[in-house]
Structure formats: C-alpha cells, structure tokens
Amino acid sequence: MMEVVDRHWKSPCGGRAPADKEESTSSSSSQSHSFFYVSTTMSNPCKRRLIRDFKRLSSDPPGGISGSPCPDNIMLWNAVIFGPADTPFEDGTFKLVLTFDESYPNKPPSVKFLSRMFHPNVYANGELCLDILQNRWSPTYDVAAILTSIQSLLHDPNPNSPANAEAAQLYRENMKEYVRRVKATVEESWLDSGENVEGSSSDATV
C-alpha cells in the first residue's frame, strides 16, 4: 500500500486503492456514490461498523478532528487533525489516511499521516507509533476514538519510543528548536490542504 502515496501528499482516493474484491467485482457497474445507498445494500460486518462510525463522527464530532470515507471506497478514509491549541502544533491541519480491512474492528486500521510531521512518534513515511494502534487495540474503539488519541499524542509525545530520533532528542533537550521545526510543518500543512479532499484528477488513472 505504501506506494500509493507519492511525495506530493495526494489523497489515495484517486489513486489505486487497496482492492476490495467484493465490491470491485460485484458492483462495479452499478456502484452508487451515496454512502447511504451502499450501506443498505451491503452485508459485510466491517462496512456496517464503518457506516456507524461515520454516522457517529458526523452527528457528534469531537473537537478538532474530522474524517470521512472516500466516496467510492468506504474502507479508505481521509481525516484531518487540527493541531491542538497551546501546543506547537496549533493551527496545523494535518491530513491522514486510514485503511481498513475486513477484520475491523477486531484489528485496527493502518493509519498514516499524509502531511509531513515532525513528532517523536511519527516515522518519516507518516506512519505512527501509537500503542492503541498496535498491541493495545480494542474493538470498542472507533474512528473518532482513534483520531482523538492521535490528537492527544500530538501534544503529549512519548519520547521513550521514538519513531523520529531527531524530534525526540530536540523534544528532550532543545524545546525551542523543536517548536521551530514543528511550526514549519504547521505552515506546510496548510499548503497541501486542497489536495486531500477528493482524489485529484491529475493522478486518476484510467
């Protein structure tokens, strides 16, 4: 899946999505672009749960996060986490992509930042080191809970399990420089804002 996201932080929606065999074979001709139509016609437990996650996220959105499935693939979500106030990440609009497979919610989705991050627990490729997405996962978590946890990770990094050694070191030893580096990513995060909402037409393949 990693090859999908190119260096320009484009949305994976327009590119090659992880294949969803059921849908691509059975409904390619009659595929609807309405989530709600899709929801009534599918029987897959994972997708039903994702519809519920989406309803909950839309009707009772936690502050500072947003997320929604791609119009043509409910297994692939785009999300935005707004940098929490009173942290170096304040005002950032950090884009992420969540990829679910059929075993959700018994397995966590794979979650990855599309925006460039400078954070002790985020790898250079955007993947993050967060216990609840690995060995502390629980099937009672939903998309809102995942995004809220990531949001709190931003202002409360865990320097003991560094995914970015330099960020971890600066966080411990040189807060001023750490803040400067983070703020640079905040400004960068505004620039790619237009590209993530829909798959951009330029990278759509025929």
């Binding site: 897959n44 437990p45 039903r48 749960r49 519920r52 996650d53 909950r56 075993s103 919610p105 018994n106 397995k107 060995n135 996962w137 629980s138 099937p139 009672t140 939903d142």
Partner: protein, 103 residues
C-alpha cells in the same frame, strides 16, 4: 349489559435483561464492539433473538455473544474484555435469558 369479546390479540415486546435498566443513554444500549443495539443482532446475523444472544462477563460488561467470541478468538485480544482489559470470564448467572414483558 353484557360484553362479548369477539376477538383479541396479545402484543408483547422483549428485550435482553442486561441488568442495567437505567442505561437509556445513547451508548448504554449498544454492543461496544459492533455498536448495534443489544436488541438488534450482531452484524453477522440476520434476525435478533435467541440465535444471537448476549454474553455477560464477570466484569459486568455485556456484548453480543458473536461479537465477543470473534474478538476473544483473535490472538490480539489476549483473552481480555475489550472494555477494561481484564481477563474475560463469562458470567454464569444469566446466559441469554430474554426478559418478557407484556403491554
């Protein structure tokens, strides 16, 4: 005057006795795993009722039995309750006994 009852029909409704009557909130009455109400069924079943019962843990948490067993069957679960991470022990006292109330 004499009244003759020509016809009557009974109406009944049922719900699972989760032992948590005051949980009328949005979150109180749904399975924490699939988020479907207890009175509904797990996403793998088509009809609610005895074929898709609830399961109680000693920790007092309640789930659709199918949802919980699927989770407990994964290695990642470490056989823990998804709510409190305590070792899952199924409570013996009530095993899917529907509470019947007429109206």
């Amino acid at each position: 005057m004499r009244v003759t009852v020509k016809r009557w029909h009974a109406v009944a409704q049922w719900r699972w006795d989760t032992g948590n009557d005051d949980a009328d909130g949005d979150e109180g009455d749904v399975c924490g795993i699939c988020r479907v109400p207890y009175e509904g069924c797990c996403p793998s079943c088509k009809v609610p009722g005895d074929d898709c019962p609830l399961i109680w843990g000693e920790c007092s948490h309640v789930f659709h039995m199918h949802c919980l067993l699927k989770w407990i069957g994964t290695a990642a679960s470490k056989q823990q309750c998804p709510m409190d991470r305590r070792a899952w022990v199924t409570a013996e006292r009530k095993v899917a006994k529907p509470m019947i109330s007429s109206s």
